[in-house]
């Protein structure tokens, strides 16, 4: 038996004989379960359950676990070993999952099975740590066995990593989404009916076109679609203008625009919506001013499409800017110089050379804006008024009085179809084009200056939109210090005290403020999710960039898929899937952590891919030819060289977890409340003061984190700057 098998055998054995088999109501780390362990059937390990003649259906697992012992004493390359491992691993996994799905809280889930076998009233809860460890053991038995058959050159580490990523992606992305699709096909009584699905899917409330012919509102699908197209187009335009001014204007102050790109990362999505209300709401500053000036009655015009549009443009223009700044810089200056030496004017060069070269980037920015707008939940919730969009409708279908899971699932599917089509279009249409604009060869020359008729309007737009953004962020800070917005503008610290009061008592620090609870929960959960996200993202990136294996394209698609799944859809899918055994997670902190990991994983993967493709592949190969195995190579060569990327992925997933709202709002519980859902709660109670004060505090915290990291990364240079590939040739 080699060391890998021995290790996983021990892990599996611990899972089977030591750890509580079922999920623990009070959590593992409360250690409540030590009382009564190991005999209490709620806390017992599987071995003790079976010994007490309970849950006897767990007994066959012991056989699968013991199978690898047969490999003891066999020579290393004996083909029998791989067979034993595959049977033990695959058999064990399948049996474990099958019994988990078959037997639930009410005994057998299927009436047929219940009629066949009498469980004597026994039932079971969700998997706990014991079950998790044993499944891990089975999974790695399987991958080790597959590797022993010579797959991916028989590399145990690589096959194991692939198996692990496939397992968790299937468990936490594919399973919930498919489960949601199937629940859309069911009536509320759990009967499958295609007719009901079609009725729900083609509901007038989704696809109605009443707004075109008569004075009714259109279906939510059309609302979302038209909003997303508008937002995509406008943010792309603004992003392009900003990118041109930042890189091509020759203005020395232009680099001041760059910090703009950090804004969307550190701003919780609905905060812009709040600021818009402070400016243009019924008692908003601008509304009041205009009303006084012209003697008009203030209106609620901003609630609905206009408000959401403005808020989303403010939120997502920096994203387009971020994408396009890279694209504009990527346009090779020598192409433009070539055009100019061929007697083209600046304007002709811009129209015929520069713009067409940016086309893939423009499409990319548009699709990003489109997807972000579709998925945005916070701004429509705050500013929507009577203008319903898909993401908010989904929310109200679940939490509202209707509690119609089928309807939520159907709406989620509509939303998913839109975003997946956009995602597919982006991949299909752009493919690898966006990477090839830069050749990596030294490319001298000066980028062409912009023609006057582009430059001047660009300056104006940037000035206007830039100052608007400043005003909006100013509002956010200022709003937190005002007694009651619109009525009493006295400066006060009241809101901050309510939220963040701290008192020194005899028992130490007493966190009295109402926000502390959710604040610490947020930090803890985001802090746990971030390293896991970064780790999974980087391992996946390593597999995608450095390894070749059958089904790699499907693998890549699966891991990037969650990027196209809006948070609200993930939220709905998670509560539908993880409310019942075998994975009972709702109401725990774990489900929040999981949702963050899988929501943000594509970002980690992208960051990993980007930085890994800059590492010369011969570094890995050199390590391999020097006798290091792939794991060793990954650990001592690749990871140290990726330190900046790791740090960036860590910070990004941390900050994203802190600002997320769309999936979170479905998954929070009284025990695990997050900052964002707390703030939304305050907004719904019209308690804007605290909401804004808390948002400001969050922004400051995240800005600090981001700035500190950038300083750290700046210092941690290692020897990377002069990579061996940069040698003169």
């Amino acid at each position: 038996m080699n060391r890998t098998i021995a290790l996983w055998f021990v892990v599996g054995l611990a899972g089977f004989t030591l750890f509580p088999w079922y999920v623990l109501e009070d959590g593992f780390f409360s250690f409540e379960w030590l009382d009564g362990y190991p005999y209490d059937s709620d806390y017992a390990p599987a071995l003790f359950l079976i010994a007490q003649s309970e849950k006897l259906w767990l007994a066959p697992l012991a056989l699968f676990l013991a199978l690898p012992l047969l490999s003891i004493g066999r020579v290393k390359n004996d083909p029998a070993i791989s067979k034993i491992l595959i049977i033990a691993g695959a058999g064990g996994l399948i049996y474990l999952l099958a019994q988990g799905f078959a037997i639930g809280i009410r005994g057998f889930n299927s009436e047929l099975l219940a009629a066949l076998i009498d469980l004597d009233g026994q039932r079971q809860f969700g998997f706990g740590y014991g079950a998790m460890l044993l499944s891990a053991a089975f999974l790695f038995f399987l991958t080790t066995g597959v590797a022993a058959r010579g797959v991916v050159n028989g590399d145990v580490f690589v096959v194991g990593a692939i198996g692990f990523v496939i397992a968790i992606v299937s468990m936490f992305i594919l399973f919930p989404v498919l489960n949601m699709l199937s629940s859309a096909l069911q009536t509320n009584d759990g009967v499958y009916s295609i007719r009901v699905f079609i009725e729900k899917f083609f509901d007038d409330k989704i696809w109605g076109l009443g707004c075109l012919s008569e004075n009714r509102s259109c279906g939510v699908a059309w609302n979302s679609l038209s909003l997303a197209v508008l937002v995509g187009a406008l943010t792309t335009l603004l992003g392009l203008v900003f990118a041109l001014v930042a890189t091509r204007s020759g203005l020395r102050q232009a680099h001041l625009l760059r910090p703009l790109t950090v804004l969307p990362i550190i701003t919780p999505p609905f905060v812009i919506g709040l600021a818009i209300i402070l400016l243009f709401g019924l008692s908003g500053a601008v509304t009041q001013f205009v009303a006084d000036l012209f003697g008009l009655q203030p209106t609620r015009w901003v609630y609905g499409m206009p408000g959401i549009l403005i808020a989303q443009m403010l939120s997502f223009t920096p994203i387009a800017f971020l994408v396009l700044i890279g694209v504009v810089e990527g346009v090779s200056p020598s192409m433009e110089e070539a055009s100019q030496t061929l007697r083209a004017s600046r304007w002709q060069t811009f129209i015929n050379v520069s713009l067409p070269l940016m086309r893939p980037g423009l499409a990319n920015a548009f699709l990003l804006g489109f997807i972000e707008s579709m998925a945005d939940f916070g701004n429509p919730l705050v500013l929507g008024g009577n203008f319903d969009v898909l993401s908010t409708e989904i929310f109200f279908a679940i939490v509202g009085a209707q509690n119609d899971q089928g309807k939520a699932a159907v709406l989620a599917i509509v939303l998913l179809i839109f975003t997946l089509s956009a995602f597919y279009a982006q991949r299909r249409w752009l493919g690898k084009k966006s990477y090839t604009t830069q050749t990596g060869k030294g490319d001298g020359g000066m980028p062409a200056e912009l023609p006057k008729r582009v430059l001047f309007p660009s300056y104006c737009l940037v000035a206007i939109w830039g100052s608007f953004t400043l005003v909006v962020y100013g509002m956010i800070v200022y709003g937190g210090f005002v007694e009651v917005w619109g009525l009493n503008h006295t400066i006060t610290l009241k809101h901050y005290i309510t939220a963040f009061d701290v008192a020194m008592t005899d028992n130490g620090i007493h966190w009295r403020g109402s926000a502390w609870d959710s604040f610490w929960t947020t930090l803890r959960i985001a802090g746990t999710a971030a390293p896991l996200t970064a780790a999974i993202g980087l391992v996946t990136a390593y597999l995608l960039v450095r390894q070749n294996f059958a089904g790699k394209n499907a693998f890549e698609f699966g891991t990037m898929l969650s990027f196209a799944i809006p948070g609200t859809v993930i939220g709905v899918a998670y509560i539908l899937a993880f409310n019942v055994p075998p994975l009972e997670l709702t109401g725990t902190g774990v489900i929040l952590i999981l949702s963050f990991i899988f929501r943000n994983m594509p970002v980690g993967v992208r960051a990993g891919i980007a930085s890994m493709s800059q590492l010369d592949k011969s570094l890995d190969e050199a390590s391999l030819t020097l006798g290091a195995n792939t794991w060793r190579t990954f650990k001592s060569v690749i990871l140290p060289l990726m330190r900046p990327a790791i740090l960036a992925a860590l910070v990004f997933s941390f900050v994203r977890a802190m600002t997320a709202i769309s999936a979170v709002i479905f998954l929070v519980s009284a025990e695990h409340n997050m900052a964002t859902s707390y703030i939304i709660g305050r907004v719904e109670n019209n308690d804007y003061g605290i909401a804004i004060a808390y948002s400001t505090a969050l922004i400051v915290v995240m800005l600090t984190v981001v700035t500190l990291t950038q300083l750290l990364v700046g210092k941690a240079k290692t020897g990377r700057k002069t990579s061996p590939t940069d040698m003169p040739s």
Binding site: L624, A628, S636
Partner: protein, 361 residues
């Protein structure tokens, strides 16, 4: 020289090895190679000929699609790189930028769990061997290109590999350094008695450094032999032209002298007696190196009438293009003092030795 780094030089054998990518791209087609222990063999060919793939298959970085690979008469066909006793010096050197020079050299020893004292000693010996004593604490980025190159060699050497591989090791160095490093590699190889397989596309480098050269073309072996064999007796037009330039001309063999295997060759007014190399009487191809063509005064006996169409002075020799009724020929001569100007008539002669008939295919 410290001898604590020994050679475990072993032979390498390819038995009908092929490498096919993605089902239809054949990178290496049914290649059989034998490299003896202690020999320096160069794989030479234009880019895309399969030489690097062949090298990587020896290292275990690519797996053969069919055929067998032996190192020291042990079948290693399915062994991955980690488990083969082979080291490689990469074109980009592939020094780990986050490790110091000494850490780079020690890396292979560390992962093979050699004890600390030996690691230290061997690292120092290895660096001394390439003339970099005292550079151990620097980062690779603080070294010049040539020094980085040597670190890469030291890193590969300290493992005392059965086979040492070089993938175009000189391509990132400037011309002057190339000759020096080339000689150093050859010297190390002969003193330590290493088995070396060396890939390059530079024919001059290959001629200078090798015991034997394997010329590859279109995924297959075009010719294999010592540098002199390849240069003086090319097996086909491709080899003749790839290794040193050659003027290829259509000639007529009037008759073959069966007693010594020599052919009488006619080319216009010229007549030559050359090794027949399997040709029969009739049409044949003749390869003549540029420096084996001599320009003489017009109407010299046994010379061909020609016109000078181009004349270039390049310092240590003259380059000419001469126009004859059999085509344009490229000729060089060390005589830079007598110049045949462009547009003038000239006589052309061939050296006694040098012109070679291409074997009949």
């Amino acid at each position: 020289m410290n001898t604590s780094i020994k050679s475990k030089a072993a032979s390498v054998r390819f038995d009908s090895v092929s490498k096919i990518y993605g089902g239809d791209v054949t990178a290496v087609d049914n290649v059989s190679i034998q490299v003896e222990a202690g020999e320096l063999v160069t794989l030479l060919g234009p880019s895309g000929c399969g030489k690097t793939t062949t090298l990587r298959m020896i290292a275990g970085l690519e797996m053969a699609s069919s055929g067998q690979i032996f190192i020291d008469n042990t079948d290693v066909t399915i062994l991955p790189a980690t488990e083969r006793d082979v080291s490689m010096v990469f074109q980009s050197y592939a020094l780990f930028p986050h490790m110091s020079v000494a850490e780079n050299v020690a890396y292979g020893l560390k992962v093979s769990k050699v004890n600390k004292k030996d690691i230290k000693e061997k690292t120092e010996t290895g660096l001394a061997l390439v003339g970099l004593e005292g550079y151990g604490t620097r980062l690779p980025s603080e070294l010049s290109g040539g020094q980085q190159q040597r670190v890469a060699v030291a890193r590969a050497l300290v493992l005392e590999p059965q086979v040492l591989l070089f993938d175009e090791p000189l391509s990132n160095l400037d011309a002057k350094l190339r000759r020096q490093v080339r000689d150093e590699i050859r010297e190390l190889q002969t003193t330590l008695g290493l088995t070396v397989v060396y890939v390059t596309h530079d024919q001059e480098e290959a001629l200078a450094v090798s015991d034997r050269i394997i010329v590859m073309r279109n995924a297959a072996i075009a010719q294999s032999g010592t540098p002199r064999e390849l240069y003086e007796a090319p097996a086909d037009e491709f080899v003749a032209d790839f290794i040193g330039e050659a003027n290829l001309m259509d000639v007529t063999i009037t008759d073959i002298d069966v007693s010594n295997g020599f052919a009488n060759v006619r080319l216009g007014t010229l007549s030559l007696t050359l090794d027949a190399r399997g040709n029969n009487a009739g049409a044949a191809k003749l390869a003549v190196r540029p420096n084996r063509i001599q320009l003489v005064a017009p109407d010299t006996p046994n010379s061909l009438k020609a016109g000078v169409s181009k004349c270039t002075y390049v310092g240590n020799h003259m380059e000419y293009v001469v126009e004859t009724e059999f085509g344009d020929w490229f000729a060089t001569t060390d005589n830079v003092d007598t110049v045949f100007e462009a547009g003038k008539s000239v006589g052309v002669q061939f050296n006694e030795r040098g012109p070679v008939l291409i074997p009949h295919p």
